[in-house]
Symmetry: C2
């Protein structure tokens, strides 16, 4: 789809964590919630209502894979899943592309690569204004760890 | 499941909007986002990873039904879906029960029953601290309208 940042970005993301037949998981630059990812539908569709049975079943596979991998990789306790797409509606005409925000949540501090990750809001709604942008070499190591546990 | 507010609440909610074989949609008391609902899995399960194929397929049916009904009923433009379950982790041991928060979002003001509903954050993340608790007779009429359009 033209004029769709997700369709365009999907072709050259450096942050690809893993993909299934129909979905693609990329690591967010902001890793305040360690392992935070975006899960993009490979096909351009504008709402959850447009998903096919095959797509929602494949999404369930993504959920199982990534939740399990994040528990093993970083001792994540639970996970926040959101499908919002509000930004797409800032423009007219709007052109949303189905994607999920995946935020692992942590009861305890976790140390990885000499960095301390702390979920200060555990048990509460995620903080929206996080801004822990990690450099590419660190993100690559986070992705490697996730892949080892898929 | 004992000590699960959702399992207990599911037996006597006044706000039931509709149900499918495996999920139950109840209207939220807070109707700042007109048509806001909770979608509870009828079975006690603690994470999305535990859903069965049948449950996720039935969830897709819920999505299609409720998104369509809200467009027809109140001219909702798009929808925010979140599966969080953070509150359950305030307690130890935690006892989460899979449920979704469904917030219809509105580009334009909508009038219903002489009440004006306005989504002041349209195009942006939902506001968490909304507090438009409507009386039961109004909630009942909202539910009736939704049911007419299912």
């Amino acid at each position: 789809m033209e004029n769709c940042k997700i369709c365009e970005g999907s072709k050259n993301s450096n942050n690809l964590a893993f993909e299934t037949k129909l979905w693609k998981a990329t690591l967010a630059d902001d890793q305040y919630y360690l392992g935070r990812c975006f899960i993009d539908l490979k096909r351009h569709a504008s709402s959850l209502s447009e998903l096919t049975k095959e797509e929602i079943l494949d999404f369930l596979d993504v959920v199982k894979k990534i939740e399990s991998a994040l528990k093993k990789s970083f001792n994540a306790e639970m996970f926040n899943w959101t499908c919002l797409m509000n930004n797409a509606y800032k423009n007219t005409p709007s052109n949303p592309h189905v994607h999920w925000h995946f935020r692992p949540r942590y009861r305890d501090k976790f140390e990885f690569l000499d960095l301390i990750f702390e979920d200060k809001e555990f048990g509460h709604h995620y903080e929206r204004k996080t801004d822990r942008i990690l450099p590419e070499d660190i993100r690559t190591k986070i992705i490697e760890r996730i892949r080892e546990n898929l």
